[in-house]
């Protein structure tokens, strides 16, 4: 399978996982598909699927916790979660996966996110602990552009600079949208690079945040600046389904009947697959 197919499969699995529900944060999850793929499957994150709590692992924290679908499907793809567990997403069953991440409920998840702005401070703490242990482990925190409206983010940005956390990389999923529209309209902010740079961070930009090669190049580059690093990935919210792309209406919504056809065509989904997605699988252990 080529990479385009793998990524279509990835989005398809996210959609089918969410399909039984009336709402889901699909567009936010689709926005970060390539970033997630590069982190987990292009050799950026060091982890052990058989030992999710491996103490020397790199930490990945999804601060925009509502994109949890992207994490769950990735954890399934790398063998941390089973198909059966994935099928419990938001279901009223024992041991279900929730709409936001929770480390005590799901292996491979580092922090409980969902209320925006929390993940970066948590990651700062992880990076400080790794540094004090002289560990080689890296900390990656994925934040959204809308989330940068939270004041605490900038507290964390200052702290990371103060403590010179060069083992911390933030990936900013800059899809320009937030729930009610453009961030440039809602907060009158059009660029982020200058803000982070002003706080002493090393800034890199990836013009196409869905370009696997460009993301891989940026993320594999060793940070030698002595400062924390942010990689701004310019992305498209809802990427992968034309209806949803760059359209704020899709922040927390699933397709109606007539829209469903587009999803099925563009993600290559059959009627049978839709039917199967409704079933919570038995876990065969």
């Amino acid at each position: 399978m080529n990479e385009a197919d793998i990524l279509r499969q990835y989005r398809k699995a996210m959609f089918l996982t969410a399909y039984p529900h009336k709402t889901a944060h699909l567009a936010s999850a689709f926005s970060i598909a390539e970033v997630m793929y590069v982190l987990y499957r292009k050799g950026i994150l060091r982890y052990r699927p058989q030992e999710p709590d491996w103490p020397d692992r790199d930490r990945f924290i999804l601060s925009k916790g509502h994109a949890a679908l992207a994490v769950y499907v990735m954890l399934r793809d790398i063998g941390v979660l089973s198909d059966a567990r994935l099928s419990t997403f938001c279901r009223p069953v024992e041991n279900a996966l929730g709409g936001e991440l929770h480390p005590l409920e799901t292996p491979g998840v580092e922090a409980a996110t969902g209320s925006l702005g929390h993940g970066l401070g948590f990651g700062v703490g992880c990076a400080m602990a790794q540094k004090s242990d002289r560990s080689e482990a890296q900390v990656y925190v994925l934040v959204g552009n809308g989330e940068l409206g939270e004041g605490v983010i900038w507290e964390s940005v200052m702290a990371a600079h103060k403590f010179a956390l060069d083992n911390l990389t933030v990936i900013l999923d800059d899809n320009k949208l937030q729930k009610m529209g453009l961030t440039s309209d809602i907060m009158r902010i059009t660029s982020w690079a200058d803000k982070w740079r002003a706080f002493g961070w090393t800034v890199e930009e990836v013009e196409d945040g869905h370009d696997v090669e460009a993301l891989t190049a940026a993320l594999s580059k060793k940070n030698t600046s002595g400062e924390p690093r942010v990689i701004i990935a310019h992305t498209v919210k809802g990427k992968g389904v034309s209806l949803m792309e760059h359209n704020p209406d899709w922040h927390f919504k699933m397709p109606y009947k007539k829209e469903l056809k587009t999803f099925m065509e563009e993600l290559d989904i059959s009627e049978q697959e839709l039917e199967d997605a409704k079933v919570v699988l038995d876990d065969i252990v």
Binding site: H118, G121, F122, G125, A127, E155, K162
Partner: protein, 305 residues
Amino acid sequence: MQKSYLMTLYEIAEADSRVQLLLADSGSGYENLFRQHLPERMFDFGIAEENMVAAAAGMASCGKIPFVYTAGAFLSYRSMEFIRDDVCLQKRNVKLIGMGTGLGWSTLGPTHHTTEELGILRAMPGLTVLSPSDPVRTAECVRLAYEIDGPVYIRIGMGGEPALYDEDDAPRKGENRVLREGKDAVVFATGTILPELLAAAETLAEAGTELQVVDVCTLNPFNEAAVREAAERFGTVFTVEEHSVSGGLGTAVAEVLAAKRTQAAFHKIGLDNAFAKGYGTQLEVRAQNGLDAAGIAGQIRRLMV
């Protein structure tokens, strides 16, 4: 109490390299011990409490034991959601120490008072809530917090609190302690207001009313049996706290009494649906709010009738 807290923490930190002191530009001088001898274990986050609490949770997730130390008001109000989501929800081994709680910052007024925080912290699942009454108990609470594998909040004063206990005879594990025996009514009280209550009890004894005074240190989990038994034995129950009468010790006791459907008379003494008024020393501000010895004695005398 600040000295007691930091000296005890320093002893623990010397023996266990996982222990860290986190500040938000909130030093009191005693942290110099850390600055001089354990500088790699002290982190000043600047005036940014929310991030400090989130970072503490991150540190704990990597095996550290952070003790987060700042003014009680800023710690509990400003970083509330971080205490909830990052510390309690994830059961992180983080210790939160609010100093100058109650009316400790007595010249600075209500923005600096910590007089409602128990209402929400007591409701946090899994958060041990400790409210020591003197420096000896404070030291014991710090040791207890270190032993507990999970989140703990300790509510301490500003400084200069008198010792109520000898070190050899201090209550252990945050247990209740009867500080004065009486027969006419029982008073449950918590924190640094205990000396005021003891003085009030002395005054009332001279007039023939004998109060049983109980120092309650642990508000969560709460010793419900002690309240049930005392209600039965004394028939009249008071609570005294340097806190709103809603949400803190008074509410904790009320919950027990309501569940028991007791006939006992019950009165809460504290701030009643009000921010504290006035400025001055802590004692002077207590007096302006009816929470010094005379004020407490007067309220009890009226309510006992």
